[in-house]
Symmetry: C2
Subunit: 334 residues, 2 copies
């Protein structure tokens, strides 16, 4: 027989509500009683029943995470950070992979509602009105990571995408490149797409290289699409010597394309990526890239959600974390 809260109370010679208080607000219990309860819990190997606990406290001590693509290594980094923070804060994490499918995402919110998760982290996707309405309708508190919303006032943590793109392009220009191109995210299905394009445009303008402004090809999130976009970009502009890519995966797709055309990287064309995936230092050539603090983004998102759940608000609603240019082998002076 599994021990119950009754058994603990009996052994510790206290009331059931004292045992409950020790588990949920220990500083409100005098030390001698508290120690007796903790000893009894230990001796009996008592495991509180989360269903019963949930019914009493309306808390499941579980957070939900909605990510668009589990096969994208960017999210693996975010998940690690989030999971470590969850362990520290006493939550379990339920991870759901949406594949950027609206119906699937909405049905996951139903699942979260049904499981009564305490809160949700929404990662890297556009917060469509349907999503917002549904989360608010289900009364699930949530925060955003690696995305933000201009329409709704939702706490978020991300990097400064425009500045990060600007820094990468400035770096290429300072290497002496004058014919630059970019592989960007489709603006229609990406939050970071538009600011990263603006960063590219601002940098080329600032250095008097306005003729590059149109040299942007767009791709969805996978390397195959970047491969195809590179083909379009180089067909129209065969003289490009430097390409800024908005993800490491895109950079790998572009380098793969250039390799298939016998164009040397960085010998003939420099390529800069974005994210600093684990993979980027293993690629051939090793990628120069804009590092995002993936682990820290995940960690901060969990902490922010915890803050929201425990205090009802967050101190810093829109938080920006630092990016950093990592110079490796895929870029070279012109």
């Amino acid at each position: 027989m599994k021990p119950t809260i009754r058994d603990v109370a009996k052994m510790a010679e206290v009331s059931i509500s004292t045992v409950s208080r020790v588990m949920n607000a220990p500083d409100r219990v005098v030390e001698s009683k508290r120690n007796r309860v903790l000893e009894a819990i230990d001796t009996l190997q008592y495991q509180p029943n989360s269903f019963a606990r949930g019914l009493i406290y309306k808390k499941s001590f579980t957070l939900g995470l909605l990510i668009p693509d589990i096969e994208n290594l960017f999210f693996a980094g975010v998940i690690r950070g989030m999971q470590d923070a969850c362990i520290k804060l006493g939550y379990s994490l339920m991870i759901c992979n949406t594949d950027r499918d609206k119906d699937r995402l909405l049905s996951y919110i139903d699942t979260f509602h049904e499981k009564q998760v305490d809160g949700v982290v929404f990662a890297s996707d556009i917060l469509y009105p349907e999503y917002y309405e549904k989360l608010v309708g289900c009364r699930i508190p949530f925060v955003l990571v690696s995305t933000h919303s201009d329409e709704y006032d939702i706490p978020c943590v991300e990097i400064d995408d425009e500045m990060a793109a600007y820094d990468a392009v400035k770096f290429l220009i300072e290497l002496g490149h004058k014919e630059l191109g970019m592989i960007g995210f489709n603006h229609a299905d990406s939050v970071s797409g538009p600011p990263r394009s603006r960063g590219f445009v601002r940098a080329v303008k600032e250095f008097g290289l306005d003729h590059n402004i149109q040299n942007i090809a767009y791709a969805s999130h996978r390397f195959e699409h970047a491969y195809q976009a590179a083909h379009e970009l180089f067909t129209d502009h065969p003289n490009l010597t430097a390409i800024f890519c908005v993800s490491d995966e895109f950079a790998m797709g572009v380098i793969s394309y250039l390799k298939d055309r016998n164009i040397l990287v960085p010998g003939q064309v420099s390529v800069v990526g974005f994210d600093n995936l684990r993979m980027s230092s293993m690629f051939v050539p090793k990628l120069t890239t804009v590092a995002q603090p993936m682990y820290e983004l995940g960690q901060r998102a969990a902490e922010k959600l915890h803050e929201l759940l425990t205090t009802g608000m967050v101190q810093i609603s829109k938080e920006k974390m630092d990016h950093k240019l990592i110079i490796r082998e895929s870029s070279r002076e012109k």
Copy 2:
């Protein structure tokens, strides 16, 4: 006010237990009543409370997944398959990343116990006695994916590791290579390590190339370790012309090492990987590799666990799925 099961029963003019039966064993309810209940659920937008449901039925409709490394793309494929199967079967999935840390893994089992998950899938790690004892002690049914146990009779689904390794090495030998090496998993912390080494040894012996038997260097699970292992292997055996790697990540580490030493792949050395990660067709050069059915492994694991949970047993206890050699650019005739 959220509608309750009482409201549904009232509107449908049936008893509460009939509503409950419609949700859990609909074929035991006459059609006219069933339709009235379903209509009422729909009209009221009733969401059953999983805490309350859990208390009544002792089911949480949640499965747990223990994976060793969320940053390994092999698991991303497995997770996709498992999550899709879970959706179909009506389960939520709680994914926990253990980082191959014993204490963390044991504490996740506690969490699963506390959350009363219905069952657990244990992926790709050694089933140490502590893990087995803990899962059994918590009375959590579980199955293994991409691993197996010789000591305990636990249902599992995996590939034939020895045969897959044999096929890869045979392929290299038939290309004319006579000086072969292998980068394997450390036997101490890997289930698939020993059978894959046996596959290598069997192939070289069968073709009278016994002098290669000792040409195995071992690495942990990351590409950096494979880079280092390649350095050791090529320092001792500079004449090798073909390397079989037990993961695509290792193959990338080896190719990265050879690139840094100005050794051409596949010009001077052929490299074959294992897994067929999404990344393997994006790498430079594109990897020849042994494909594992990652998605299907995840799917089958969820189905097996469901079978175990609903019937108390599984038809096929030890299931093997097919592997397949995919020939791309990293291998060439000698």
